[in-house]
């Protein structure tokens, strides 16, 4: 039986359908999770997809962090369940303190949508084990508040522990410190990523197929576990 990957829908989530499609393409079984239910429906991993949950009101991710579904997500993440936050999901993970730092307004002050080159720098997480170390990939990036910020001590700690999983190459699109595009927690099961791998899974609709590897990685991690 293929692993069950939960995809959470908050009010204002937009990329839940895309994330579910990516799970399916990778060979997993997507399971819809609802923000209002504190129930993970026995899934093996969870994706917090992109969008504008609660309209980004107050602060991106700040309201979603209190949604009933986040209680079991936080508990399961603590117990080692793979959790991927993409874009708004990354913001929610930071607001939930599952990951350090914060995503602030792009330096340009504009929303930006572009095909972004990244370098994968950690291939031991649940979500990146299918990549080669140093591999460069191109996936879409689309955000208004993707500027990763943390204090110097935190940044140094992330670097020292190899927890920067992906960095922007060629262009730093949003002003993120140290070109950081994605990070992981110490255990490597929780990953936050600003660009959108779920939009790079088909020749017809994406700039590459590179995104699919994030989803096949978690299936590898689960099947191997």
């Amino acid at each position: 039986m293929s692993p069950r990957i939960g995809v959470v829908t908050f009010p204002g989530t937009l990329d839940d359908g895309d994330a579910a499609r990516a799970v399916r393409f990778a060979g997993g079984e997507p399971v819809a999770l609802w923000h209002g239910d504190a129930d993970l429906k026995s899934v093996d991993a969870v994706i917090l997809p992109g969008g504008f949950s609660y309209g980004d009101y107050l602060r991106c991710g700040a309201i979603s962090r209190f949604a009933p579904v986040m209680t079991p997500v936080i508990t399961a993440a603590g117990a080692g369940m793979p959790v991927l936050g993409i874009c708004n999901g990354f913001q929610i993970l930071c607001e939930s303190h599952l990951l350090p730092g914060a995503l602030t307004r792009n330096q340009s002050m504009h929303f930006i949508c572009r095909d972004q080159r990244l370098r994968i720098e950690n291939t031991s997480t649940a979500w990146t084990n299918g990549f080669a170390h140093g591999q460069e990939i191109v996936i879409p990036l689309k955000n208004g508040e993707g500027n990763f910020n943390a204090d110097t001590a935190t940044l140094d700690e992330l670097e020292a522990e190899g927890r920067v999983i992906a960095r922007y190459v060629d262009v730093n699109p949003n002003g993120s410190q140290r070109d950081i595009a994605g990070i992981t927690n110490a255990r490597g099961n929780v990953v936050g990523l600003m660009p959108h791998p779920e939009h790079a899974i088909e020749d017809l609709t994406g700039p590459s197929l590179d995104g699919l590897v994030f989803f096949s990685s978690v299936l590898n991690a689960l099947v191997g576990a």
Binding site: D15, D18, F52, Y54, K142, E198, H199
Partner: protein
Amino acid sequence: MADTVDNAIAGPEATQPFAELGLKPDEYQRIRDILGRRPTSSELAMYSVMWSEHCSYKSSKVHLRQFGEKAPKTDALLVGIGENAGVVDIGDGWAVTFKVESHNHPSYVEPYQGAATGVGGIVRDIMSMGARPIAVMDPLRFGPLDAADTKRVLPGIVAGIGGYGNCLGLPNIGGEVVFDSSYAGNPLVNALCVGAMRHEDIHLASAKGVGNLVILYGARTGGDGIGGVSVLASETFSDGGPTKRPSVQVGDPFMEKLLIEATLDVLGAGLVEGIQDLGGAGISCATSELASNGDGGMHVWLDRVLLRDRSLSPEEILMSESQERMCAVVTPAKLEEFLAKCAKWDVEAVVIGEVNDSGRLTVDWHGERIVDVPPRSVAHDGPVYQRPLHRPSWQDALQADTPDDLLRPVDGEQLRATALNLIGAPNLASKAWITDQYDRYVQGNTILAQPEDAGMVRVDEQTGLGVAVSCDCNGRFAKLDPYTGAQLALAESYRNVSASGAIPLAVTNCLNFGSPEDPEVMWQFAEAVRGLADGCLELGIPVTGGNVSFYNQTGTTAILPTPVVGVLAVIDDVDRRTPISWGPDGELIYLLGDTRDEFAGSEWAHHVHGHLGGMPPRVDLARERLLSEIMIAGSRDGMLTAAHDISDGGLMITLSEMAMHSGIGARCWLPDDIDPFVQLFAESAGRAVVVVPRSEELRFTEMCAARGLPAHRIGVVDSELGADAGYPGQQVLQISDLLTVTIDELRAAHTATLPAILNA
């Protein structure tokens, strides 16, 4: 205290501020005749907004009829013109609806909110047909790029479109951005939305079934967007009442996203008998149109409307254009389920009325009758004007002022300079500064987005069924000759979707003009409509809906007549879409169609010489149709790897865009029998560049020869050309021995223009 029907009967001679509400004395008298008494202030408010130009199309109606009268026979149309948006059959049980609307004036006053709510409005129009919105695109027009006011309005308008559309999860797949001094002080913000649904899910705006309930759901009603009605409010209320409020509405895209999901949920569960969006004229429009299209009667308890501001008067509630609201007609048995679905999405919903067979629309306010009217008289039987028309006094002189005497580049060096100048001209330069602020990826079905010829989205993931849309207009052509200009807009849009490999099915339009009270503007409008209707008939694709925006002028100077034409096309499998990028090496570049010495209204005349005069390029719709059929057949039979229409800037711009987009150079040559400048920069219609693999060349050229379409082999894709051409290691575009440019040079000129001004 509200002005009741009893008051109106008791005090027939009360003076009413109809003029301040925009009604003419004879229109006011007509309302009195319809009612047999003076209207109450609420009734007056309803008639004034519903009989406004915006809602009633009173100046344009007599002309727009041609779209129906001249409609070509087609089986594709499931719902025709007159509904919120037309619905087109695209096969496999799928239907698509699309429409474009203007939000020009609000966007000038408050660029961000004006543009944002323009997107919101058209999205609700599409939802009210029962469709899930699947893509948006935005034709935009501004004053000169370097004008101070452009810098005021453009960033706000773009941010508003992005801020609202991105938050809804709708991919933005294209549009237009045009700069011309006539739009300074009157930018055009048109918004197009496409939606898809199964045939059985088509819904109409009608209130049928006596006893059925009318539900208002979505955002609460506030005092925004009331406009002229505050005149009434200030009459009705003294101190302590609401003050005059900004007339531009404020959007809440998060609420709209919830409204979309809730609406699709209730439609999908079969809970809805009739549905209507709330846009211009708010509750007045929704209730009168629903009643008028249904069993003819409706009663509304206006005090049940959920308010953001409890001090609003009934007149204001009737007129409020608060965003993110919808109206649904539901049977009593399904009410509970409807309300539960709304609650799931945190959307407020309340029953405000009931369908009856009284033939009247009645509205009560705390137990008192404040409106009692025949709904049709409000919604459909507004005034109709046959406005005077007059061919402009300057039209002959304009057409006589041909571009023939303008100084032309004469040698390779000058042609090269012209190419680099034009590729960076504001109208031809990269619009990435704008379009990079829009999400084109969301929903994961975007097959083509700008700068491709057409936007294309997949409708059915299993079969690959998809639709392509393009919208186009060269307002300079329309000024030179509105009839031809409208047909050229149609031809370009039709050509663009065809180049992508999709089959054109239907047309929408957004007709942006100056004041209809100016007979010369009215003539432009009438000519453009006639041209478009004739053109659609000849191309065999019906107009399914659209929008008219008048009064686009600053002082007495009207904008360029700008009939934006959108064409919707279907492709049975998006896997065979034709992009604009060519490659690999050795593929052959063909020019299809005839090039003539046609520069009137061209980008070259405009940008290089600031000239506008002469007659626009000739239109040959039979040729357009043939070209379209050839490009579609080429796509279907795997004979084409790329195609790109030739329009603004001519062949040189088309080739440059293909080279830049693919990143691969090409060696091209020009036919001997035509002046190189004309060949490279003329804007003759009915042309495209296509790229053919060598293995398909014979089959393709035989098809063109058999069908009588001129096809000239003008080049070959060549990534190794740089070294021979004196640019080792670089990709170059070489035109005979006349000129060679590197793709890097083209890109540098192409991408520098907008950031240089807008980031400054």
